[in-house]
Structure formats: structure tokens, C-alpha cells
């Protein structure tokens, strides 16, 4: 008996049982009150669902076993070759013949398709993707990865999944293509940009940013980010822009995008991206925004960006803002001044320390003075000499080797790395 007729037989058996159960309930309890009829009906229904669930557990277990076996087979057959392709040994561009040799494939194997079914192709991509994201060496050449994938007809399969697959398959295939740095045809992207699923639409937009020769954010409507922005979007956007820069394409004017947004969170995102991608040429455009806005977080982000990008033209604005801004914002401004370290804002920092009663701001001001080069250090020592009893606890942080490590402004570097850190990573 074939598998399908076997399944058909059991389905018909189950249907017959259901029919029997309901007939039994209807006739057996025909004379009983409605409450009893209801109870009997619910019981029969529950029994049937329990049986269905048990069968589906068995079915899932069989599917899993099948998947596990296929995975083992793919890993056994191609695992060694995949590992070689992502290792540092594959640093030179390899020909198709060489790759064929690595995968221990004969010419006869290449006559037909290497992976026959979609199931095999899906598993192959899954396995290779894992090798790619977990074991890939920086020295391995992306060109080899692409040659190998084309040899196995994977790009064609992924494009098919992206256009015709279910939502889950679409998202997976797009993610694989983006991570494996495969080029995505514009017609596929255009089709997805009209998808009714926001998730698919967004992934397509980010894919478009990677390779579009036009302005990278052309496809986004002005209010797109205002309505739909989360940290993941910023990560994806950063990833796409980084790839774009690596390909030698121009980045969009992020300062302009910060200007045209309404949401503070989104504006901050674009300012942060500017900082990340070292977009110093647009720093001047942020001056208007800085003067006009009353949003605290945005002022903090712009100050930080100016500090990191060493935009010294803004120092007067920062000194002015330090007098007017609330305590939370003052900390970011003082950090920016310390990073600029032109010598102009030493007195402003000292005022920042003296003119507040907030212990956090006083500590941060002291931290900035300590880090402000030799003249800052001299000022710090003078302040320490004349410190009141209440202030002495702040200075104790600068003498303990463990807390001293946190005094330097390096910790923030990890959250907002300079462009070198991003690209080396």
C-alpha cells in the first residue's frame, strides 16, 4: 500500500469513528435535557480533537526525523566543502573546477542538477547559511561563495521562493539572499514592494537600499519611519547602508532625513546613523535643527554626533546650550565638549560642575574635566584639593583601579562605535 492510500485509509477510518460518535451522542441522549445533550456533545468533540492531536504529534515526529536525516545527509556530503569555502584557505578566487574538486564532485554529477528537490535545496541553504554566519573567516572570498551557490542553482531557487513562496518562506529566502550577499533582481524587489505584508515590504526596501543606484531611501515615503520604526529597523538600515558603502555607492543625506521626520525617535535614529557612517559633511545641516528643536533626546544625539565626528564649528552652540538645557541633556553636551577638546570649553565644564546640585551631573562633569587633556587634569587636581566633604566621594572613584576603568569615555564607544570599528567588525 502506498503512503497516500495508507493515509487516505486512516482518514476514512477516523471519519467513520467521528460519525459513529456523533450519531451515538444524538440518539443516546435524545430524551435528555438540553444541558446533558450539550455536555455529551462537548465530550465527544474533545475526544475527537485529542485523537487528532495525538496523530499530528506522530506526524510531526516523523517529519522531524525525515528532516534530521536529510540534514545529516547534506552535511556528510557537502559539509567539508562548505567549511572550506568559508574558511581563510579560500582567500583566492577559485574556478568552478576547483570548487568542484573541493566538494568532491565528478563531472557525471554535474550533468544533472546537484540538488534534485526543493526540500534538498532548502536544507542546503539552511546548512550553508549556518556555516556562513558562524564559521566564516574574514579572509574568505565572497566570490567563491557565489560561484558555489550558482553551481548548486541556489540563487534561482531563492528567487523562486521570494516570488512564489509563502510569507514565511519569502522572509527566510530574502534574509538568506541579503546575508549571503546575493544580488536580488530589481523585478523581484519591485514585486515585493507591493506586498500586503509589512514585514516582506520592509525587507524588500532594505534590500533595495543595498543595491539601488538611485538615492538609497527613494522608495521610502517620508512618514514611513515615523510610523514603523524599531531598533531592528535601525540595525537593518545600518547593515544595508554599510553594504552600500562597501559597494562604492553614495549614502543618502541622512541629515535631511532627520530634518523631515516628525518623530523624535526617528530623528535620533538618522542622527545616530550619521555618526556611525562618519557623515561629517552634513554636520552643518544639523545646526538649524539644533537651534529649532526642543526635543531633549534629539539635542543629546546631535551633541554626541558633533563630538564623535569632531565638528569643532559647533562648540559655541554647545557652550550656549550647556547653560540652558536640563540636567539629562547637559551630560551629553559635556561629553561632546570633552571629545572636541579644543581648550575653548574648559570653563564651561567647570561651570557645569559648579552650577548644579544633581550628583549625577556633577560626577559626569568631573569625569569630563578629568578626560580633558593635561589642562583638564590640572583643573581636576585643583578641584580635588579644595573639595568639600560631600564632594570627596566623587573623587574616590578616580583613585580606585576598578572604578577608574569606567571613568574613561571608552564604554560609550562600544554603543556608538566610530566608523572604523564598524567596518573592521
Amino acid at each position: 500500500m502506498g503512503t497516500i492510500s495508507f493515509i487516505k485509509y486512516y482518514i476514512s477510518l477516523f471519519m467513520a469513528y467521528c460519525k459513529f460518535l456523533f450519531t451515538f451522542v444524538i440518539y443516546k441522549f435524545a430524551d435528555y435535557p438540553n444541558e446533558i445533550k450539550f455536555a455529551a456533545f462537548v465530550s465527544a468533540l474533545c475526544i475527537m480533537i485529542i485523537i487528532v492531536m495525538q496523530i499530528s504529534i506522530l506526524w510531526m515526529s516523523w517529519l522531524q526525523k525525515r528532516k534530521r536525516r536529510l540534514r545529516e545527509r547534506i552535511e556528510k556530503k557537502f559539509g567539508k566543502g562548505m567549511e572550506y569555502i568559508v574558511s581563510s584557505e579560500a582567500s583566492e578566487i577559485m574556478s568552478e573546477k576547483e570548487i568542484q574538486k573541493v566538494f568532491e564532485l565528478d563531472d557525471e554529477d554535474l550533468e544533472g542538477p546537484l540538488l534534485k528537490t526543493n526540500r534538498e535545496k532548502r536544507m542546503f541553504v539552511e546548512v550553508f547559511y549556518l556555516y556562513f554566519i558562524s564559521k566564516r573567516s574574514e579572509l574568505s572570498h565572497t566570490e567563491n561563495t557565489h560561484t558555489m551557490l550558482y553551481m548548486f542553482n541556489i540563487p534561482e531557487y531563492l528567487e523562486k521562493e521570494v516570488s512564489l513562496g509563502s510569507m514565511k518562506h519569502k522572509v527566510n529566502a530574502l534574509s538568506y539572499m541579503r546575508t549571503l550577499k546575493l544580488s536580488i533582481s530589481p523585478w523581484v524587489i519591485n514585486k515585493l514592494l507591493n506586498s500586503r505584508y509589512m514585514r516582506v515590504k520592509r525587507l524588500a526596501m532594505y534590500s533595495n537600499i543595498m543595491s539601488s543606484s538611485d538615492s538609497a531611501l527613494d522608495y521610502f515615503e517620508t512618514d514611513f519611519f515615523d510610523n514603523n520604526c524599531c531598533i531592528k529597523d535601525e540595525i537593518e538600515l545600518g547593515f544595508s547602508l554599510q553594504r552600500r558603502r562597501k559597494m562604492g555607492l553614495k549614502l543618502p543625506n541622512l541629515a535631511r532625513w532627520a530634518h523631515i521626520q516628525n518623530n523624535e525617535k526617528t530623528q535620533c535614529m538618522f542622527v545616530r546613523l550619521m555618526r556611525r557612517f562618519n557623515e561629517i559633511e552634513y554636520c552643518g545641516q544639523l545646526k538649524d535643527l539644533y537651534n529649532q528643536t526642543k526635543k531633549k533626546k534629539l539635542i543629546e544625539e546631535i551633541s554626541r554626533t558633533w563630538g564623535y565626528l569632531h565638528y569643532v564649528e559647533c562648540e559655541d552652540l554647545l557652550i550656549e546650550a550647556l547653560l540652558t538645557q536640563p540636567d539629562d541633556t547637559k551630560v551629553a553636551i559635556m561629553h561632546a565638549m570633552t571629545r572636541l577638546a579644543t581648550g575653548k570649553s574648559m570653563n564651561a565644564l567647570l561651570d557645569g560642575f559648579k552650577n548644579t546640585t544633581n550628583p549625577h551631573v556633577r560626577y559626569e562633569a568631573l569625569r569630563c574635566i578629568y578626560n580633558y587633556g593635561p589642562e583638564g587634569r590640572a583643573m581636576f587636581e585643583e578641584l580635588e584639593k579644595n573639595a568639600s566633604d560631600a564632594d570627596k566621594k566623587f573623587f574616590s572613584f578616580f583613585h580606585n583601579p576598578i572604578t577608574l576603568e569606567k571613568i574613561r569615555l571608552d564604554k560609550e564607544q562600544a554603543y556608538h562605535p566610530s566608523v572604523e570599528t564598524v567596518f573592521n567588525g
Binding site: 492531536m53 558562524s134 531592528k232 550628583p359 566623587f394 576598578i402 562605535p417
Partner: protein
């Protein structure tokens, strides 16, 4: 007149039962939808790690674990927490003035020295005596806080909140075993949320019967003893059906105190944990919801069933009764302290749906059961029972409860929330527990709930007695 009362009562019970069934079916349906959404939104661990590990935007997390007289397990527990894989986190162990060698052991093992500190007491807790950090680079993430004895876990957690410097904190028990990928999976939901995520919950499970290796659960077994086995089933039902279902409509009523992630700022603004509460986790979450709603802010709550936190549950009947009596008392406290939230649509789906459900089917149910039981005895004595009808209705209730538990096993299998070892025997054990639970375990829980309510009404002094731990099997 008595006959009229009798009929009214009978129909009331029947209507209550129907409502309960409808409620459960709806939760099953919602949890199925949530599970479908999870299938799409939660990628595999490697992808999550690949995207988050190198990103400068991955939020930092503080892990807070209060400890009191834990000399037997403290080093293993801290080592277990240190196994967590996440790019940016700090561990805050709060020593609640232990009378044993807990603090000495920590100082010796991790080469701790006192460091200067200036901590703003943002939430109420007993004073902090000293803050210690390690001189060893390997333990640079570890902060040990030594504080004046507060007597409750909530007080220790609050001290930890005061010390923590990150936007998010995780509150856990020091003896809990956490999966290494737990933070990645929880934070994935935070970075994917379009609204401010104020809390993320995980699945709590029994570590009784599991085998632990290097601070990680190497083999997850269903407990062999009967009391923990029933609790395992109960926990699975609570997390995979009830909480997952509620999380689908952003109405999660509770993030377990054993392992939950919270937004520090919102937790501080809503006052942190209440050291006097018997259900401090539910209490804090409801205060956070109240704060967000009253200040007109939108928020998100999530449950990630694929994050498991293993904890040792009561192994004996005596301990179980003590724990559940305390929980019932806590539930009564919640109902009385947060009564303005109940049936109040201003507080969103939590006020309009979850809390009414909690009130009707979790708070009142044990009272209904006990009244029903006494009524049945009276009817039996007076010969007023229609046995065949009673048998059918009882059969329906029993089959329905078995059906819900089977659904949990089905979900567990589909979600792969727990990587059970020896799947067949584990499932067989849980299936047997499912069939026996209504007769053995459920009456005990009903009894405990009623005792807890009575103690709350009688205003007896609440004593918090920690569970006597046997420890887990180690390889």
C-alpha cells in the same frame, strides 16, 4: 423558596462552567495564533546572534539575583548565570545579610574588593552596606551588593534595581538555571517592538529530575516524583496556553519573578517591587501598566515560550501546600489592592479582559468548587442527585480538562519550547499526569487556595519560608 434557590444555584454553576469552557477555548485559540506569529518572528539562535552580536544598538541588560543563605549553591549558581551568552550585560548579586558563609565564599571565589559607590535610592529598599567588584578581569561583569537584611526577595531585587545602570534588567532567583541564549531571545522581542517594551516573560519549568552540566541543563527530564510532575504539567499549561494566549492581545497579567525582563525606567517610576507583597511580581507588573496608562503612553508586553528558566519546585506535599497557600494569599492581595483596574477598560485589555478573567476563573473558582462539593454531599445525603446526569456532566468536565492538558503537550511539541530528553517516555509520563491530575493534584490546590484566602481574611501574619532544596543532579 428553597427549591427556587436550588434551581438558581444549579443554573449559575452551569453558566459558570460554560463561561469557563468558552474562556479556555478562546485562550487556546489565542495561544495558537501567538504561536504562529512566533514561528515567523523568532528566527533561529544563530541568526539572532549574528544580527545582534556585532550591533552597537543591542541594548545592555543587568541581571539581578538576590541571595540569602545560599552557601551550598551560591558559587555554582553565579557560575551558571555567567554562562549567559550576550554581548553587553552585568550581573548584580544582592546579598541580603546572609547569616552563613555566602558572602565570604563570593569574596574568596571571585576575588572581590570594595569599591566606592554613590547610589541614588530610586526605589524603596534597606540600606546598602557596600558594593564589591572583582579584581579579576574574567569576572568584570560581576557586581556584589551587600545590604541590610530585608527578609524578602522583593527588597533584594529593589536594591539591585537601585544599583543597575542599564535600560533593561532581568530579575531572577539565584538558584535558577538559565539557558545561555535566553537574553538574546528575549531582547530580540525588545528590538523588534514598535511600542516601548516594558516587560518580557519566559517559561518557568521544574529542574527536579534534570541533569545539569557546567551550569547548564544538559538533559531535560520530566520529574520522576509525583508532586513535581503535576507541577511541571501545571506550569506548561499556565505558560503555553494562558500566558501565551494573553500575550497575543498584549494583556499578559504576570511576568514570573523567577525570570522576567523589565524596563528599568518604567519599573523605577512605578515604585519597583513591593517588599510587603506576597505576589510581588504580579503587583509590580500591574503598577507598571497603571503608570503607563495613566501617563498616556502606549506599551508592549511579551512572552517568549522558547526561553526556559529551570527552578527547583516543592518536592513534598507539605512544601507544596505552604507555597500554594502563600500564592492564594498573594492573589487575594492583588484583587484587593488593584481593584480599580478590574473591569476597567481605561487600562486596556488587561483591565477589561485579563483581570476580570483572573477574578472570575482563578480567584472565585476555588470558592465555587468548595461550595459545589459541600452542596453535592448535601444532595447525596438527601437523595436529590440524578446520578446519570451527574456522571455525564462530570465526564464532560474531566474530558475537557484532559483535552486542555493534551493541547499543552501538543503545543510544547510544536513549539519545541523544551528540548526534552527521551521524548517518548517524557510525554508518556506527562500524559499519565494529565489523566490523574483532576483527581489527585487539583483537590490539593483547591484546598490550598481556600486556606490562603481564609488566612488573608483572618489577617494572620504571613511567614515566608524558603523551599528546602535538594539540588539538581549533576553530571
Amino acid at each position: 423558596m428553597w427549591l427556587t434557590i436550588y434551581y438558581i444555584f444549579c443554573y449559575l454553576v452551569f453558566a459558570y462552567t460554560i463561561l469557563l469552557i468558552v474562556g479556555y477555548v478562546w485562550l487556546v485559540f489565542m495561544s495558537r495564533l501567538a504561536q504562529k506569529q512566533l514561528d515567523i518572528n523568532l528566527p533561529d539562535d544563530d541568526t539572532i546572534k549574528y544580527l545582534m552580536q556585532g550591533s552597537p544598538l543591542t541594548p545592555a541588560v543587568s541581571i539581578i539575583a538576590p541571595a540569602y543563605n545560599e552557601e551550598v549553591t551560591i558559587i555554582d549558581s553565579v557560575n551558571s548565570i555567567m554562562q549567559i551568552d550576550y554581548p553587553d550585560y552585568e550581573i548584580i548579586i544582592v546579598n541580603d545579610e546572609s547569616t552563613d558563609r555566602t558572602m565570604e565564599l563570593l569574596i574568596e571565589e571571585y576575588k572581590l574588593v570594595e569599591v566606592p559607590y554613590d547610589i541614588a535610592m530610586r526605589v524603596q529598599s534597606k540600606p546598602i552596606k557596600r558594593v564589591l567588584k572583582s579584581t579579576d578581569e574574567r569576572y568584570s561583569k560581576l557586581i556584589v551588593v551587600d545590604k541590610v537584611h530585608g527578609g524578602r526577595k522583593a527588597d533584594g531585587s529593589n536594591a539591585g534595581i537601585n544599583v543597575c545602570s542599564n535600560k533593561y534588567f532581568v530579575c531572577t532567583d539565584v538558584d535558577c538555571i538559565i539557558e545561555p541564549m535566553a537574553l538574546y531571545r528575549m531582547m530580540w522581542f525588545v528590538i523588534n517592538s514598535h511600542k516601548p517594551m516594558i516587560g518580557v516573560g519566559a517559561t518557568m519549568l521544574m529542574s527536579n529530575g534534570c541533569i545539569v552540566e557546567d551550569g547548564k541543563v544538559a538533559e531535560a527530564h520530566v520529574p520522576n516524583t509525583i508532586i513535581p510532575m503535576f507541577q511541571q504539567l501545571e506550569y506548561l499549561r499556565s505558560f503555553l496556553i494562558s500566558k501565551l494566549g494573553w500575550s497575543r492581545i498584549n494583556a499578559l497579567p504576570n511576568i514570573s519573578g523567577g525570570f522576567g525582563l523589565f524596563d528599568t525606567d518604567v519599573a523605577v517610576k512605578s515604585g519597583g517591587y513591593d517588599p510587603m507583597s506576597m505576589a510581588e511580581d504580579v503587583d509590580m507588573l500591574l503598577r507598571m501598566v497603571t503608570y503607563m496608562k495613566n501617563s498616556g503612553q502606549d506599551f508592549q508586553l511579551a512572552l517568549v515560550p522558547k526561553v526556559c528558566c529551570w527552578t527547583e519546585g516543592p518536592g513534598s506535599l507539605k512544601q507544596l501546600v505552604r507555597q500554594r497557600t502563600r500564592w492564594a494569599r498573594g492573589l487575594f492581595e492583588i484583587v484587593s489592592n488593584h481593584r480599580k483596574l478590574f473591569f476597567n477598560p481605561h487600562y486596556g485589555p488587561i483591565g477589561a479582559l485579563t483581570l476580570p478573567y483572573l477574578f472570575l476563573f482563578e480567584f472565585i473558582a476555588p470558592l465555587f468548587e468548595i461550595v459545589g462539593f459541600l452542596f453535592m454531599i448535601w444532595l447525596t445525603l438527601t437523595g436529590g442527585v440524578n446520578w446519570s446526569a451527574a456522571f455525564i456532566i462530570f465526564g464532560m468536565i474531566y474530558i475537557f480538562s484532559v483535552f486542555i492538558s493534551f493541547f499543552v503537550l501538543y503545543f510544547d511539541y510544536k513549539l519545541k519550547a523544551v528540548n526534552w530528553k527521551h521524548t517518548k517516555s517524557s510525554y508518556l509520563k506527562l500524559m499519565i499526569a494529565t489523566l490523574l491530575e483532576p483527581f489527585i493534584y487539583h483537590p490539593i490546590i483547591t484546598y490550598c487556595s481556600n486556606v490562603g484566602y481564609w488566612r488573608f481574611i483572618a489577617n494572620t501574619t504571613a511567614v515566608w519560608t524558603p523551599i528546602q532544596r535538594k539540588g539538581v543532579k549533576k553530571r
